[in-house]
Amino acid sequence: MGVLILVERKKIEIPADAKKVESVGEETEFPFDISPMYEGERIRKGDMYVELGGTEQPGFELVMALPVDEVEDMKVTVVGPDLDEMEEGKAYPYAMIYYVAGSQVEVDLEPVIERRNHDFQNYLEGYMHLNQRYDIWIRLGKGAIKKGLKSLVQIAKATMMLFKNELPFIEKIEAVYVTDADLVNKILNEIAMPIYEERDARVEALHDEDVDEFYSCTLCQSFAPTNVCVVSPDRPSLCGAISWFDGRAAAKVDPEGPNRAIPKGELVDPIGGEYSGVNEFAKEESGGEYDRVKLHSFFEYPHTSCGCFEVIGFYMPEVDGIGWVHRGYPEPAPNGLPFSTMAGQTGGGKQIAGFLGVGISYFRSKKFIQADGGWYRVVWMPKDLKDRVSKYIPDDIRDKIATEEDAGTIDELKEFLQKVDHPVVKGVVRPVDGKKITEGWEAEEEVVEEEVVEEEVAEAQPQMVQQVPAPAMQQMPMGMPQLPQLQLPQLPATSAGGIKLVIKDAKIYIDKIVIKKPEKEKKGGK
């Protein structure tokens, strides 16, 4: 896949009449210490010489990859007032632009390099750098000025030196620092913002197949010992907090920490999202408990669920569809169970077909449970949740997914799905490969009615365990009795006494139910 580039990378034009300082070459002496121990140092207001960017003034940082011959190595250009021309205690606009070049330097490395500006500048004694992109906020300490800091040239040279030392793939680097308000705003709006937007667009377009490594997250293994979160471009962590980019950033800082690189290995199942590297990793990290994990499958070897997940998906065999409910929805879902109950059964790092914990941002994924029909298999979600992810739902299915306003029980849901002609009714064709994966149940429904009349409903039914719908369930005949709301054929009112059957909080395994009227009665019929 080619890298999406919407903004041409070229040097910024500096107006001919602008006040500027230029300097080329490495500096050997700096009037400040350089060390990681200065990271996190907060320069207090009283100790501050000047503030750059921040809340009062515009500020941004930008790295641009350019061809090697266009970059003048270790050159700094400062446009606008320099430090010795600034008034103590004031805030100034600030842009830091770096041109980088090298045989391995490509546009998609720009954000990776740019992020390090924060690290390196915080190594400088008396210099506080916060935030990123267009939010940067810098404070320079009075102490640094006292020790001999005069010019931003010194800051830029020290930073560039660190870039080259720490990231040896950078062969050439050049900096342009701007403190002139008009020029900062102009470059920010015309060049920097479009580049940031381009990068975000590239993130949306990044998929599992575009990268070589996924990242693990074992931050919550203290609660869920066998849970292995696998974070890929198309699958964020279950808690929703960690994207593939976060995993990559964390793994770089601490390769043996809670977020480690997982080499993908071989692609075993492109539709389910199964990779040999992920399987090996899962086996290792779950202590042998699981040896297969499919990233985009609901029924077959689904991802384990920790306990931190934001949303739980649940299969409803009665409609052969999947519902989702988020942590903040307190009511029972149409299957009669609230989030907490389902989460309790699924959490703790278990792999349970029929239930799946996910992060809300997984609904954005282009591979969202693609093996099982993606959005076309989704039948119900609370309105709150549906509104939050609405823009990621394909137009032709959005209105067919019920909320609590449309359906609160399985019966109401069934009715709704038939009314809107949801794909599950006639059978789901999964978009990823055009394969029809479910048979639908509308036709079968009538059969059920007839069987009820025959009064030996369950005899024809296959085995079924309510809590754990097996993967094979998709192929099951659809005329199964409704569970968990067990419905019994109505006993005629003439029966003496009658019974009251109350079943609470039960797990029921039924092989066969035979209900017969007293023998002297004749069979009822329509």
Binding site: M37, E39, G40, E41, R42, R44, K45, G46, G54, T55, P111, R115, H118, M128, L130, N131, Q132, R133, D135, W137, R199, D200, V203, C217, L219, C220, P236, S237, C239, G240, A241, I242, S243, F245, D246, A249, P258, C306, G307, C308, F309, E310, R327, G328, I360, S361
Partner: protein, 257 residues
């Protein structure tokens, strides 16, 4: 860097003592970070500071907006928010209010980031004074990793002493790696109370730092909602100054670099 955690049963006056320690230590020119780690206390009021956002509020914003950050670095985002919005700068010290406990959802990642940011932030201060509730929640979660001195404040009540005993056990379990745990008796009147507290200190092996008297002025300031740091030279304030110099004596308060 010296980290002092002031704790004790609610109502024993630990917040007043924290506020005065902060006041006197920062007056001595120490670079000081005051941390309010008790959601039920009112350290900012006692100090007369109007705090900005709490760390808890920022953590909540993070929980909600993290999905929309794209390639932005979340640790940097959180650090920026803490430095610019959660830390209140006064003329003589910085104040960080931890705020309310976690809401629903998973905070593993948010807390993991917080730990990193706070550790980096804290090492640059000479002194950190933490007003913390008896449950030591932030220590158990690891958002604050250690304390050099734990100062347990108790009044004359049996409950105050029972809590002090529990805090000692808890801080050992949590492996806070403290150098010393001290006891401070507050609002102590009468010889019997002195006897009881001294005996408790001996039996439990918690060194008694000092016994502070009942101070009418503090009660009045507290009632009016005025900062307790307004107290003039009194027996009470002199004793706190003495405690401050014991805790941050010699070279303890010098920043290593």
């Amino acid at each position: 860097m010296v980290v002092i955690a002031v704790t004790g049963k609610g109502g024993t006056g630990k917040t007043v003592i924290s506020a005065l320690l902060i006041h006197f230590l920062s007056e001595q020119g120490k670079k000081l970070l005051a941390v309010d780690a008790d959601p039920d206390s009112n350290l900012p009021d006692a100090l007369g500071v109007n705090p900005r956002k709490t760390l808890g509020e920022i953590r909540e914003v993070f929980q909600v907006s993290r999905d929309d950050m794209g390639t932005m670095n979340k640790e940097q985002w959180l650090e920026g928010k803490i430095y610019s919005e959660a830390i209140t700068e006064t003329d003589s010290y910085d104040l960080l209010v931890m705020g309310r406990p976690e809401g629903e959802g998973c905070y593993c990642f948010a807390n993991n980031l917080l730990r990193g940011v706070l550790r980096k932030l804290m090492r640059h201060y000479d002194v950190i004074v933490i007003d913390t509730e008896a449950g030591l929640e932030h220590f158990s979660r690891g958002t604050i990793s250690n304390a050099d001195y734990i100062v347990v404040v108790t009044d004359m009540s049996k409950k105050g002493l029972a809590t002090a005993k529990r805090i000692k056990e808890l801080s050992q379990e949590l492996k806070i790696n403290f150098k010393k745990i001290y006891l401070v008796g507050n609002r102590i009147m009468g010889g019997t109370a002195v006897e009881i507290i001294k005996r408790f200190s001996d039996e439990e092996g918690i060194e008694l730092l000092d016994l502070l008297p009942y101070d009418e002025k503090i009660v009045q300031l507290d009632m009016k909602g005025d900062p307790v740091t307004l107290i003039d030279n009194s027996e009470y304030s002199e004793k706190i100054k003495k405690i401050a110099s014991i805790l941050v004596g010699g070279n303890n308060g010098k920043n290593e670099h």
